[in-house]
């Protein structure tokens, strides 16, 4: 009865980097320090931040592991901090002690990486951060960031929300977990764009759902009681939106009564579009494996790589949800 999300490997949806602007900063091994190594034999460490309840996380880890296998990287160590930040820091530090030559980090928090940088820079270990960005200097503290343009995701969600509501209505935001740039930018991107394009859309409610389904459901249940006239819910990720949809069903709403827009592109959320419960889903592609190792490979063999590698994210709505369901994760 359960749907085991079949992740990355299956089907399409490989990440594509946006073409970098001319003159965008790059980084080479000379600038960063360190020496060339063969990626295949290099010791690589991957640090995952959150528990893998979220399909995004499953797909992300899977993609890294699959790609490593595909490229014949034999020496990959993975750790999972189970959402404990201090554990993630010691996980990474320990990998540095054990002599990794490349670090791929999906950071839990955008700040707080001083000690890791101190250790890694002493040994010139390149760090690629994926999905969330670290507030530090690329090509010095870390090598590069690969991920989405989160403010843009927020904007696109706003556009879809405005469209779904006909530029008028009351909207609630389910915020992601605090302390990272993803939440911050998805919020500001959304609000700024709404203010610009649909001033008649009012944001009446903002509570955190910690990127988690249960929290999304609980908060929405309360929200529906205090603001029964709500027209739209913006979930900063799909899990919270799916929780919100369960709450909507529980409150006796019909599909489409309240417009739901969210970010990530999980199977469940895209299916919700098919079922009429969600209006649109902006993708946040978690399949970082190929792009991360391609970047690392280039860098370690001496080629320059971008300091900020922004990927292209697709989008699902009523028009393409059914046909593109297979590329959701």
């Amino acid at each position: 009865e359960d749907n085991d999300p079949t992740p990355a490997a299956a089907g399409g949806g490989a990440q594509v980097a946006q073409s970098a602007a001319a003159g965008a900063a790059t980084c080479t091994i000379e600038q960063y320090g360190g020496s060339k190594v063969d990626l295949k034999t290099a010791k690589v460490g991957f640090s995952q931040s959150e528990k893998e309840a979220n399909p995004f996380r499953i797909a992300e880890t899977q993609s890294i592991e699959d790609e490593a296998a595909k490229q014949g990287i034999v020496n990959l160590t993975t750790t999972n901090a189970n959402s404990q930040f201090n554990k993630q820091i010691s996980d990474v530090e320990q990998m540095i002690d054990s002599g990794v030559q490349l670090l791929v980090i999906a950071p839990l928090n955008s700040d707080g990486w001083d000690s890791v940088f101190a250790k890694a820079s002493a040994k010139h270990i390149p760090i690629i951060t994926i999905d969330r960005k670290i507030n530090a200097t690329p090509c010095r503290d870390y090598l590069t960031f690969i991920g989405s343009d989160f403010a843009e995701q927020g904007k696109r969600a706003a556009t879809e929300m405005a469209k779904a509501l006909g530029n008028k209505g009351k909207v609630a935001i389910l915020l992601g977990s605090p302390g990272n740039n993803v939440t911050t930018l998805r919020t500001s991107g959304f609000k700024d764009e709404i203010a610009k394009i649909a001033p008649d859309v009012q944001i009446v409610f903002e509570q955190t759902g910690n990127f988690a389904r249960e929290d999304g459901q609980k908060v929405t249940e309360q929200l529906l009681q205090s603001n029964p006239d709500i027209n739209g819910i913006y979930g900063e990720n799909d899990e919270m939106a799916l929780g919100a949809i369960t709450a909507l069903k529980g409150a006796g709403k019909k599909a489409g009564d309240v417009k739901v827009v969210s970010i990530d592109g999980t199977k469940g959320a895209v299916q919700a579009i098919v079922d009429g419960w969600a209006s649109a889903v902006i993708e946040s592609n978690p399949r970082f494996g190929p792009l991360a190792f391609e970047t690392a490979g280039k860098f370690l063999s001496g080629e320059p790589v971008g300091q900020d590698i922004i990927i292209q994210d697709r989008q699902y709505d009523a028009g393409n949800a059914t046909s593109d369901l297979s590329s959701a994760y």
Binding site: A212, Q217, Q225
Partner: protein, 317 residues
């Protein structure tokens, strides 16, 4: 049905300390009726009851354990275990899945009970081990993944109605009555309180202390696993890493705010329900006024302190 056996008449105790929790619930409800739009609607009440039901169920078990001068930190992990097992056995039908998750509760309860009653560990330490390990196991079993649940029978438990009330609330209500009855009227209930009052003496009086204690921990864990499977049914998915997270603290708070002393020897079942309702209403009130978690948490802290201060036991010696 002569004198209430649970609480001897306390001439010394003010009315407030006995009924403080209920008063607080009433006050908060009144506040909301006047100041919170749409509060006094059936659908709102319904949501509050639905949300509080799992906490009430866990708190019932916790109250029994606290009555024996124990504590059970592992309830959240038991919920996670129950949640993790359900999708695995749903293929064999809802009954099988429910039974298996209840069995997980029995197993954890037995371990806790044996560690406390036979090995003689302090409850907080004994259950700390399963608090840590139990959730770990649940996450291992579920491979850390969230699994959607679509089984209609199971979902009925989480979102269905029976005679106009959510099934979930019926289950909680029946369990409240059952536990209240257990504590007040049965031999088991009195033995439980005796153990909380003086375990050594109860032992020497020839009572089967080990058996009673183990049973209490099993009951607590089974109640937690019921809460776990109901949560799965309600959230329509099983996420072992999230279900019941930190619920041990909510449950203990409900029990203590409800007037059951941590020193054992006394259990207030209805007080526990009121305690859970009070904390639920606080959270609901805050969210409804779009106040942020920071405010909610600070208000909760103050309410806990006031409630416990008012209901605090005088020292008997």
């Amino acid at each position: 049905m002569t004198t209430a056996v649970l609480s001897r008449p306390k001439i010394d105790k003010t009315w407030l300390s006995q009924y403080g929790v209920y008063l607080a619930v009433v006050l908060l409800v009144l506040y909301n009726i006047f100041f919170t739009p749409y509060f006094l609607t059936w659908s709102n009440l319904r949501i509050q009851l639905i949300q509080v039901a799992p906490i009430v169920i866990v708190a019932l078990g916790m109250a029994l354990v606290i009555g024996t001068e124990g504590i059970d930190l592992s309830v959240g992990s038991v919920m996670a275990l129950a949640a993790a097992l359900i999708p695995l056995y749903l293929g064999y039908g809802v009954i099988a899945a429910v039974l298996v998750s209840l069995l997980a509760g029995v197993a954890v309860g037995l371990i806790n009970g044996v560690l406390v009653a036979r090995v003689g560990l302090q409850p907080i330490v004994a259950t700390l081990a399963l608090f840590v390990g139990g959730r770990g196991l649940a996450v291992v079993i579920s491979e850390g993944k969230l699994k959607d649940v679509r089984n209609a029978d199971l979902l009925y438990l989480g979102s269905g109605d029976l005679l106009g009330l959510p099934v979930l609330v019926w289950v909680a209500a029946v369990l409240v009555l059952a536990v209240a009855f257990l504590v007040r009227r049965t031999v088991f209930g009195r033995r439980l309180l005796a153990i909380g009052g003086n375990r050594r003496a109860t032992e020497l009086a020839g009572l089967p202390v080990t058996r009673v204690l183990i049973t209490v921990y099993v009951l607590c864990a089974v109640l937690a696993s019921i809460a776990g499977l109901l949560s799965v049914a309600r959230i329509q998915s099983s996420d072992a890493s999230a279900v019941g997270l930190l619920i041990e603290l909510s449950a203990i708070t409900a029990v203590v705010v409800g007037g059951t002393p941590l020193t054992g020897g006394k259990v207030r079942v209805l007080g526990t329900v009121a305690g859970a309702l009070l904390m639920q209403l606080v959270i609901a009130t805050m969210i409804k006024h779009d106040l942020q978690p920071s405010t909610t948490e600070m208000v909760q802290a103050v309410i806990i302190l006031i409630a416990v201060y008012v209901a605090r036991e005088r020292k008997t010696r």
